[in-house]
Symmetry: C2
Subunit: 212 residues, 2 copies
């Protein structure tokens, strides 16, 4: 019996494919070697049951037995508690993994996701608003650069913090935002070369392609 079930959209447009957040969860599950099933909800018509699991009408969510969890960060933390391959067991390593998980999602992605969405929607490159967002993102990347130049993984060993941070930085890289930050780029390359990432990415691409 499969205990863990990941739910994502049945289909998404081409542009976000490979970047939908179920990837973070797939990646963690593959790293941990935990068996899981994947289910789909309609992208176009989001019903009440969808909102009961994910109040913003987004994906993913994970059910673990009778427990349903939304927010990729919360799911990563939950899986981190289940596997030492995802989070160090010693208090210091655990604390580092958790603070860097929040750093990825709150300090870096808060700047970089709007930055990337401005690119997606054709609003990048002009105006004082764009300049502000570009400066905000670069201020974060400038501080990540020496951190990532000095270590292979954020919490000593590979952890949920790296899944979140590498996925956040990968989207910046897609729009060439990491060109001035070679250590950030090398980190993304190192993280995405892992077999668990490659399988998770291929599985997401195949999942959406199957619905075309």
């Amino acid at each position: 019996m499969t205990e863990l079930t990941l739910t994502t959209f049945d289909w998404v447009p081409d542009l976000p494919r490979g970047f939908v957040r179920d990837l973070r969860v797939r990646w963690a599950l593959e790293e941990a070697g935990l068996p899981y099933a994947v289910e789909s909800v309609p992208f176009r018509e989001r019903n009440a049951e969808h909102f009961a699991h994910q109040p913003f009408g987004q994906v993913p969510w994970l059910t673990d037995g009778g427990c349903s969890i939304f927010e990729s960060g919360a799911i990563l933390l939950h899986l981190g508690e289940r596997s030492e391959r995802l989070m160090p067991a010693d208090p210091r390593g655990r604390s580092e993994a958790i603070e860097w998980l929040f750093a990825a999602l709150n300090s870096v992605e808060m700047a970089s996701l709007p930055w990337a969405l401005f690119h997606f929607t054709g609003n990048a490159g002009e105006g004082p608003g764009w300049k502000f967002l570009d400066d905000f993102t670069n201020a974060r990347l400038r501080h990540m650069e020496p951190v990532l130049a000095g270590r292979e993984w954020l919490a000593g060993t590979f952890s949920i913090a790296d899944i979140a941070m590498a996925d956040v930085l990968r989207l910046v890289d897609r729009f060439d935002g990491l060109v001035p930050y070679p250590a950030c780029r090398a980190y993304v390359a190192r993280a995405t070369a892992r077999p668990a990432f490659r399988k998770a990415h291929a599985d997401q691409m195949a999942h959406f392609a199957a619905a075309d």
Copy 2:
């Protein structure tokens, strides 16, 4: 001996006063009734020791004995593990508090903080970039509205999730962004009427005023 020490800036300009993130930590500590000391680092000249504790050169960080933690979300989670006044002890309540903590910091604040910073910097109100950000923020608020209309606190009882979410929404309210969302406004009013918030807020204002 004081075991918990919160570090914040020695001074900040008028505009962010009352909204610096040490407030989230002060609020949690006051709710839990945990004794703590407050220390300062220079706002203007951020040295290597500052970056060793907080890699982005921001505040706050918390030391708990020999452990130093940055990211307000990670600090809230750490304190939640120490006090049932901050996080329910039963697995379901704990899981809900954690997912809503991430929802506040990743789903809502990712939209609302850039939105507020556009206001702060005079970039609100014009252009397609602004419209995109305003739509992004309202999409999140529209989904928070029925959630907050249906419950007093996010995880059943007051928790770290409410500290994060109320503080995130409070900044939107400052720029009148909650006018179309009465349940969100009532929630902010309810949260900020708590004695622990009022003490935390007054202490932050006094801390920065003392440096003028």
